[in-house]
């Protein structure tokens, strides 16, 4: 299957699963504006966290010259901008909100790890691949 079709397949699968879970969770189409706003707020929070993590983890390349320093400062500014956007969209960031989203991110990460390790356990357990060299050749 081509790369384009693979991406299309992943997109369709993702959409189907999200719709099914949304239906299970009693998503009301009438509240679409509220749902959309919440998704945007969560999206900005994810952006802020990503920029902050990338900026702070750039400490390992700061000694390499001017460009990494500029990059780190820019990312820090972007994350501060993200915080400002959250304040505008949601008002004050509450302690409970940060705790909830942290646990949700951990839950998604652990869910992803569980599936990846399941696939690895199944694939490496195949009797056909008893000889790794033969498996590589295949």
């Amino acid at each position: 299957m081509s790369k384009k079709n693979s991406f299309l397949g992943i997109f369709v699968t993702l959409s189907i699963v999200l719709i099914v879970i949304g239906w299970i969770a009693n998503w009301n189409i009438g509240d679409i504006q509220e749902i959309g706003k919440d998704i945007i707020i969560k999206s900005v929070m994810a952006m802020t966290a990503t920029w902050l993590i990338l900026a702070t983890s750039s400490t390992s390349i700061l000694h390499r010259g001017k460009a990494p320093t500029t990059q780190t400062i820019t990312l820090l500014f972007l994350s501060v901008g993200g915080l400002g956007l959250i304040e505008i969209l949601n008002g004050e960031i509450s302690r409970g909100m940060l705790a909830t989203i942290t646990i949700q991110w951990v839950g998604f990460t652990f869910g992803t790890i569980l599936v990846i390790f399941t696939v690895l356990a199944i694939v490496t357990g195949s009797k056909e691949e008893e000889d790794p060299l033969l498996a590589m050749d295949k």
């Binding site: 999200l18 949304g22 998704i39 994810a46 952006m47 869910g111 790890i113 569980l114």
Partner: protein, 254 residues
Amino acid sequence: MDWATIAFWSLLYAGIPAVLAMHLQRKVTKIYKIATPMTILVLAGIAGTANMIGESTHMGPVETAEALIHLVIPTSIYLIGSCLAIFGGPSPVGPIPKNWRIGGSILMFISIGWIIVQSLQPESLPIQTAKMNDIAISSLLIGISIVGAIGTTVVLTVGEKRWNAAIITIALSIGSIVILAQLAVEKSEYIQDSLQTIIGTIFGVIFALWITFHVIVLIEKNAALPKTTEPINDEEESLVKRHLEANIGGGKNE
């Protein structure tokens, strides 16, 4: 938010990645030398601020840590089981005996059972139910159902059909959706919130990485070019050719 709360979350999201990056330095630089003391400071800061905030009616560090431990228990059992299954399998990739694969599979099933009980009847578990258990478990199940379904598509589209892997991943996905449906009877608001978070996170992370990529390209483009050496002259070129002919072509090296 009070200063202790701001300090706690800042240390968690900014301090931890920073000290991890410090430890990942390849050479013994000044930053590498201060990595260990900085790690101790960050961890002490996290513990200290969490202690200052303490338990509260709002969700805070203590409640987050409690829910985290409740997620870590089944996940670590599953990971230990799957590692035993991977390295104790037919492929000789580790020092684990082959027969341990069965033990690994049993651990994986125990973990799945634990997750089911933690979702539907958490009070039956030998540990106290976490305050944020519903939030944690609904996000874990949504994560498994989405990644399981995507995993099935990927496994089936990579060319070599691995039906066993596809069946297992779709079973994980469907199983999680069924548990979510059971959970939704009483606690649908947690599933709604987790679902909105995962959609927002997917968009947010993709957009943030896209912006970061363009920012880096822009900064690198405008950065001063490093001093380059002069191109090789005719004499050097003929010398290189002579060496190549002598070593590859079998000619005489003069």
